[in-house]
Amino acid sequence: MESVRTQDVSSNDLPWKIVYFPERCTMCGSCVAACTFNAIEAVMARRSLTVSRKAFPEPVREHMARPVIQRKAGLRNVCVGCGMCEKICPNAAIAPVRNVDSRFPLLARNEGPIKRGGRTNLNAQRTLDSIIVGRISQMTDPSLDSERHTFDIRSPFGRVLRSRELPFRVEGDNLVLTEKTPPVHWIYPAIFSDMSVGALSTRAWEAVALATAYLNEKHNMPVRMCTGEGGVPIKLLESERLKYVILQIASGHFGWNRIIKTLPRMRTDPAGILIKIGQGAKPGDGGLLPAAKVAPHIQSIRGVPRADLLSPPNHQGLYSIEESVQKMHLSLNAAFGFRVPVAIKCAASATSVSVYNNLLRDPYKICGGFFMDGIQGGTGAANEVSLDHTGHPIVSKLRDCYLAAVAQGLQGEIPLWAGGGIGMTGNAAADAFKMLCLGANGVIMAKIVIQLLGCVGNERGRCNSCSTDKCPTGICTQDPRLVRRLDIDRGAENIVKYMLAFDSELRKLLAPVGNSSLPVGRSDALVSTDRAVADKLGIQYAC
């Protein structure tokens, strides 16, 4: 019996296998050239082949050296299942298939903790799918016509004053404003959430920005995009289109030197400022842009040398909520003349209600939004242990925060924006509608936006290689050869078309419940087929 080196890493130990049909392959080499992970190679291999060399059929079985495509062994060049080989092959000769018996999680840790991008692959459960829009207008009140009626699909972004605090003076039959009030912008209830230049390629970032501007200017959809922590191109900072952009400041403060220096030359105010305390994926773990992705333009935009760029887990200068409000909120409000809403983003957590309650007591009226990001949010780079085992589901935490505000009669004063898995199964409008009914003023979406650009990563372990600078779609890489794979215009067009569908689908959900404006907090419109979900969220159980 031949001995087997059972501890060698072979193809059946890894998460993806390659199926290869040599009879279809013309050895054009496209698949090898397309594989950014260098996971396959063209080799000469001994193969058994039936041939006929005579003028008439005389099949003979021979062994001969043949050029073939095969995957590389070992852990350094692992196939991630991105499928670029399959996409490019003109003859359908090659494709990755999932290996259900993968031993990768055991083997890969030889190199240290597993790092990757994407979403949690372990906690991909879908609470929102057990919720149905179940309160349909039938006879007691009419459903609306989603095509004919006018729908007011707008949400507040900014600090909302209590009605008794509004600085009005009665003049005859009119109320007249007597003082300046905090800035509040009514925007589309979906924000393209914070992905930095750096995490994204310049082309991907530009495609998102282009889609944002197009939706605003051609379709009257005031969608905003958030920059992420990575600075902003000067050209955009000095452009009128800055008004569609929410600038983010996170614990690394990357890019803010340039932003502040550009202030005098800004032709318009940004749409808002988002202070990022944490994010849904790998919460409490800070941020990381691996040195591999810190290309010269990233060094320039962030003002840093080529090195791993770590955003610390905390804002180093802050130690309490009160202080954060007083220092960061106040200084960022002041920097833009109190004309720009300043909001804060935290990872959803068992402590979120305490944080929100504390912000609601903000005496300066300068916290313009509480963004919460759940465990199903995506990231560009993280330890897998953090992605899969830390974080908090967003749905119940959003509800908890909303109900905490209700208990104090403060709902709506600091708008709630929630994300983390919105659109995970493709229908972001349904997710958004349910979140609105549970108390969100709007949703934040990120992963789905890059999926619309062409990202093939998913929650079942496909690709998720955002951390490697080898993104096969040119989205999460700074490698100029790969970045060119992304067609900016087509990417932006995909986002625009999706958002137009999103808008129609939102109307299709508003119409049957008889509402023409957003049903924020209208939990009676929902039922759940899961008793535990219904009980937790305080909605009707239905079966």
Partner: protein
Amino acid sequence: MCRIGSIKSRTPIPPSMALKLMLPQQEGHDNSGFAMVMQDLAGVFSPYKEKPLLSLACNDKGKQIVSDYMDKKGFVQVFQWIPELHLRPGLKIEAMPAYVFRNYDYPESMRNADRREREDLLLDTRLALRNLLQKDGNGFVYSFWPDVLTLKEIGDPADIADCFGLWDDTERLLSKNIVSQCRQNTNYAIVRYAAHPFFLQGYTLCANGENTFYTKNMEFQKSLHRGYIGFESDSQNFLYTLHYVLRELKWPIKYYKHVITPLPFVELEKRRDKKELSLIRESLAHLEINGPNTVIGLLPEGQMITCCDSKKLRPVVVGGNDQMVAVTSEVCGLNTIMPDRDASKDIYPHEREMVVIDNDLAVQRWNQ
């Protein structure tokens, strides 16, 4: 759908006028109750217009509870009218044992109190009585306010009228304003407190339709004012918002319409007062209504108002002659009580309109 109606008259009118307005509008099984609020009273209550009038439906024990409480608090009863019930077999009515209407003098301690203090005392007294009566199901207290009488009962409106002698037009029970409703309750667990018109500190309101933002409204209103309680009906929300905007915030009346049916953003953008309207929409987003509704309101000083939802999904019509103006769900009601009016002057308020009827019967139409 509830049929609602109100009449404002130069001279005091009897409840039969309201019944004549409402009954032609009755359809199908639309007969589960009748309720009305009368304001600016004449008849037996004429001498006591300044004295708060308690409107009560209760049993004997309830009557005693009320008497004890009012004594304890120093209220002095100055007049009582207990209508004689004409109950007979065949009448569809679920009558309470007693209906009590009592005028009180304020407690001595309130002699030098200002108007607002007195109004708050009346509210707190009504809430306390409601609590006491509700505990063991001994009765219902509907209003406690000077010059305002409330009657609510479950049953066929015509039978209720028979039972209370409301067809009797002797000058016993008269007022210049009546707001009434004939009720069709889609929920068979009928609660008396769920019957509109609702009353709170001088504000009376009835509404029809479905308040699709009931949950939002209710969750917000609960913490706005101690008087915003019950929520047995989704129409109570409209009253509480009216009370909040006019009495608590002291905003001009047109802003009630801006709060409940805010202008769409595209229209808001074109307005000179867009900043103010935008702030109102932001702060009171949870008081918006967004279903099919018509509202009829009666204000403390006697103005009568009506408006409807932002898509005009529920009808309302305003018509009048020299002597009275009526607001109601369907024009057949107007045709019955004012057959000779100039119907070409009837107003069918549109979705952005509010109609205000002054005490001199001048009708103002105001566009949002």
